[in-house]
């Protein structure tokens, strides 16, 4: 034990008190941690109420009101989806987490990834909708909460990616008409606030559809979202395309590769690998922007929290409610960040 103690002391001296400046910083930071962390732990853990009846009971104890989360848990996650059928969105969540894990661990080879996600999203839509296999039909207006957020994010980001590639390539095309169209589209989509874009698309999209064909608001929002993100992502990809040295194009040309092969096999793989940090930045921003669709009356996971907080018994539990929702957002955003870091390492191996 004394060996362990000696080693701990030595580590402390070597790492925390090796210079006067470091020693001072260690003391200051330790003080700040104690000063601010301890009341936080006190609030979140020691004085927290798990079984209180309402927010006033919590206030009496003076700690966090986790009882609100416990009471409203299913609603916070699934919203107004029919209570007895909530096993279906629960399975949907399992499918999403499984897909994320499969992608994250690289269990699936890259070329199976897209089909797996497509199949997964199909299964998700089927489960949510029902009307087959004895599952009662549930209209999209009742697809709420976390499943809705994930459907919007996965579908929107997934669809925006190929579109962004086309826009980026189009903007660098040697055909002037194509270049102008792509540039105009990108600038228009980026120059309009997402909310305005959303309203615009809700109204405009039906005009492009054959009469009689009605698309649920959810899917119109999904399309609007994908089109919006694609503009941002296209610029990220274009940045990567511009970073590829001319020699790479020339080497591909000299080998007789045509435009498609050159782009797919030589240029894009490098441009995409180069821009992973910026792509993830866009994806994470977009994931959180899904919350804006509550404005057109869709109930995403954040809107569920807002709704639950209307319960007179829990009016004051908003800190707990938003913390809970925040943790959910964080978990997904951070997992995207982790995934990209792994991908960068994987793609960077032996390169430089």
């Amino acid at each position: 034990m004394s060996v362990g103690l000696t080693r701990a002391l030595r580590w402390t001296r070597a790492n925390l008190f090796n210079t006067p400046l470091n020693g001072t910083l260690t003391v200051v930071i330790a003080f700040l941690l104690l000063r601010f962390l301890s009341p936080m732990i006190d609030w979140a853990v020691l004085r927290a109420s798990l079984s209180a009846r309402d927010d006033r009971a919590c206030a009496a104890v003076g700690g966090a009101c986790w009882a609100f989360i416990r009471d409203w848990f299913r609603f916070l996650i699934f919203g107004r989806y029919p209570y007895a059928q909530q096993w279906r969105p629960a399975i949907v969540l399992v499918i999403f987490v499984a897909l994320l894990l499969a992608s994250f661990s690289r269990r699936l080879p890259a070329r199976r990834l897209a089909p797996a996600w497509l199949g997964g999203l199909g299964a998700v839509a089927l489960l949510m909708r029902g009307g087959v296999l004895g599952m009662p039909y549930v209209e999209t207006g009742l697809w709420n909460g976390l499943p809705l957020t994930l459907i919007l994010a996965a579908g929107g980001l997934g669809a925006s990616f190929p579109l962004a590639l086309l826009l980026a390539l189009g903007r660098r095309s040697s055909l002037p008409a194509l270049r102008v169209i792509c540039t105009c589209y990108i600038e228009a989509a980026r120059g309009i606030p997402f909310i305005a874009w959303l309203f615009l698309m809700l109204v405009l999209l039906p005009l492009f559809l054959p009469p009689g064909l009605v698309i649920a608001k959810l899917w119109r929002a999904e399309i609007a979202f994908a089109l919006f993100i694609a503009a941002y992502l296209a610029e990220v990809v274009r940045g990567g395309l511009q970073a590829i040295p001319r020699g790479q194009y020339e080497a591909a040309d000299a080998l007789g590769l045509g435009y498609a092969q050159k782009t797919l096999r030589v240029i894009l793989p490098q441009a995409l690998a180069l821009t992973i940090p910026a792509q993830v930045n866009t994806f994470i921003g977009a994931f959180k922007d899904t919350a804006l669709i509550s404005i057109i009356g869709l109930f995403d996971v954040l809107q569920d929290t807002n709704t639950a907080l209307n319960d007179p018994a829990w009016r004051m539990a908003y800190v707990e409610g938003y913390l809970f929702t925040g943790v959910i957002y964080f978990a997904f955003c951070y997992s995207m960040s982790l995934y990209s870091r792994g991908l960068e390492r994987h793609l960077g191996q032996g390169r430089r």
Binding site: D253, A254, L257, G258, Q261, G350, R351
Partner: protein
């Protein structure tokens, strides 16, 4: 076959001009290279040497005159350009290997995608050429893990995997450390002995004397002198050639 295909030059440039703005970078360049011919192009920097060979596979376009490769004329027709590029291999000063692919993948990409070879066939061919350039053990590595000399030999093997009729070399040793130049030149000499049609822009005059059957001296976009190596080095006719050789051989 006394005439016809065998007599036709592998590469022919007829009165080729190219301008960057008002400045002529190629000016009335004519050149014929027979099948199996080995040409070294030399001259001061800015002479248009690189531009000329880059016109042969249309990495640059010429604005006047005609260029024929194996009887096919280079025009703006993309299909024709791609057909010519399949027959013309090129090695660059900066190697230009694909950094995201392994050495083997660098070599098999074009044979599989352009020549429609099976993966198996392409890999066998790639290993054959890697042995030819003496680095088969590097097949699984990425370009950045190799030395400059090794990368340039991979680049040569990559071009050879397309089974080209002609090989173009654009200053292939200029970006290399001195100790690596020989390993690349040795590979090129072997290639020359195998009967490949080659055009090489280089400042390595010892190599030129050994490999070439024709030397071309260019200056300011013009072909100044064309001669077999023994005449070129011992009895250059043009004053500018003499000046250049005096400068470069004294080093």
């Amino acid at each position: 076959m006394g005439s016809g295909v065998q007599d036709r030059p592998m590469i022919e440039l007829r009165h080729v001009y190219k301008w960057f703005g008002a400045q002529a970078v190629l000016s009335d360049v004519s050149l014929a290279v027979a099948r199996g011919g080995r040409v070294v192009v030399c001259g001061p920097s800015g002479a248009g040497k690189s531009t000329m060979i880059r016109c042969i596979n249309r990495l640059e376009d010429h604005q006047q005159g005609e260029i024929f490769v194996d009887g096919m004329e280079l025009t703006a027709d993309v299909k024709q350009i791609e057909a010519i590029r399949r027959e013309v291999g090129m090695v660059f000063q900066q190697f230009n290997l694909f950094p995201h692919l392994t050495v083997l993948e660098n070599l098999t990409l074009a044979p599989i995608r352009v020549r429609r070879m099976s993966r198996r066939e392409a890999e066998d061919l790639a290993m054959l050429h890697l042995e030819r350039v003496r680095i088969p053990e590097q097949a699984g590595k990425y370009p950045a893990q190799l030395s400059g000399g090794q990368q340039q030999r991979v680049a040569i093997a990559r071009a050879l995997c397309m089974k080209p009729q002609v090989m173009l070399f654009d200053e292939p040793t200029s970006a290399l450390d001195p100790e690596m130049i020989k390993e690349v030149l040795d590979v090129m000499l072997e290639l020359a002995q195998s009967g490949m049609t080659m055009i090489c822009v280089t400042h390595e005059m010892g190599f030129a004397r050994e490999m070439a059957d024709m030397l071309v001296f260019m200056d300011r976009g013009e072909v100044i002198e064309t001669a077999p190596p023994d005449l070129f080095f011992t009895a250059p006719r043009n004053e500018r050639t003499r000046l250049f050789l005096g400068q470069i051989l004294r080093r």
